[in-house]
Symmetry: C2
């Protein structure tokens, strides 16, 4: 697995210091994260689409056929630099160290009570007159199976691309085209007074206050809390553990905890564990 | 060249009777016309994208590798019925017998003074609260060369998909995804008061009066007029003939002639020719 130089820096950032530039300043194009992609051709086609619409932050988690993948490079056309600079990692967590807002692409709608947005709504939510929110990523599942509940649990929302009921199955690269295109046209009109209403609304959004926790910080809290809950035998029925734990994490994701709040909660967990 | 049953009917309609349902009633999804497409895979990918977004009227003019094309069927996935039902013809004119409003997809902007629209603008122009304009088609050029001035001359406007300046080269199927997606999201909100302003504006548009000429009728006029102009030696400088003729046709396209006006003009041409 090849990794770009950024990984080490990202990991260092994850250890303790959290200096995430969540503030709305100029342009912060979203990252596209491909989880366990199967075909190199599809990875390449996603890179090409991203490049066509001005995106460059491609992250690939556990690609089926290893890395590098010549089929991906061949298909990327003029987007091959995205393939060369892609962050390639083994686990989703490693791709999320600087991500504060994560959207799942899935045709499924009613998953863990997550809010559902159209591609245009997602972009209008994250791009305002003042600029663009940093730390946003779009998560794409493996071609055949798509995203599981386990993957979606960390997401703040679901992107649902409107499609015909007669043929709703979108290829991963086609989905990437639509989302990248919506980002591009919305980022171009970010100086447009039309969306100032949205902008006003977003000032109220806690994720815009500038200190929201990263997904990696949240995962650290989850791991820590799981140790505690296992110790006190909270999950008594093994058959229900997974579902209970998914719902619990979903609640924490929805709470939009700040980095400070995550540290406070972990301190609490640590204090309880010490007494057990 | 295989042709579907519709061709014969279309040709009969072209002979004289013009009963084109240009009136705005419910849904009239646009046709996609592929001019001299090269790769079967691309034809299939366009069919798949159309099908994903509820479009079905695919027309193919002079495909490089003949027809049927197994690569097109394989790539179409659940859109294979579009491939099977496609209208496949030898000349662009044959694909236009019921088309009144034609848009060229090209990255070129300043062609023959044609107005340039974004994909969203095109769809908002043709879909209103009252329904959708019939006889609209989107023209895609061959992969390598794209559309020539000769192809664009018949078009009422250019669709320009906003792309990054660093990698502006969109694959034909990616362009089809964006345009089909824009049609789908706009057709779904056709009952939405947001676009009523557009709707009001369009009532003034002569193309909505219900009697605009088809592209085939216009071509009939052009051919007729060309005979007359050649007879009177209008094009004295052979080197300039093509350009002069392109501009003249462009003017007639812009005039948005009704079927009746085309017949009147052809009657005039016929009368002059009789005296020569």
């Amino acid at each position: 697995m090849r990794r770009c130089d950024d990984v080490k820096n990202l990991k260092e950032a994850d250890v303790g210091l959290s200096s995430h530039p969540h503030i709305l300043t100029s342009s912060h194009p979203p990252a596209f994260i491909l989880l366990a992609p199967q075909m190199g051709e599809n990875i390449g086609a996603v890179a090409r689409a991203m490049s066509n619409f001005g995106l460059s932050d491609l992250r690939i988690v556990a690609p089926r056929d290893g890395w590098p993948n010549p089929a991906a490079e061949a298909m990327a056309a003029h987007g091959e630099h995205l393939i060369k600079n892609a962050l390639v990692v083994d686990t989703l967590g490693e791709a999320l160290t600087d991500i504060t807002t994560l959207y799942a692409t899935t045709p499924r709608q009613d998953v863990l009570g997550k809010p559902v947005f159209s591609p245009g709504e997602v972009m209008q939510t994250n791009i305002t007159l003042q600029g663009e929110r940093a730390g946003v990523a779009i998560l794409f599942g493996p071609e055949r199976a798509g995203l599981s509940n386990e993957d979606i649990v960390l997401c703040d929302g679901i992107i649902s691309i409107p499609v015909s009921a007669e043929n709703p199955s979108l290829n991963i690269a086609q989905a990437a085209v639509v989302i990248a295109y919506e980002w591009f046209i919305n980022s171009r009109k970010s100086g447009n007074p039309e969306i100032s209403g949205v902008s006003h609304h977003l000032k109220m959004d806690p994720r815009f206050r500038g200190d929201v926790s990263t997904k990696a910080e949240l995962e650290g809290l989850f791991d820590h809390a799981k140790i505690l809950l296992d110790r006190v035998n909270y999950f008594r029925e093994p058959g229900k553990t997974k579902l209970m734990w998914q719902h619990m994490r979903s609640i924490w994701v929805k709470s939009e905890l700040t980095s400070q709040e995550v540290r406070t909660l972990r301190g609490m967990v640590r204090a309880i564990l010490r007494l057990l």
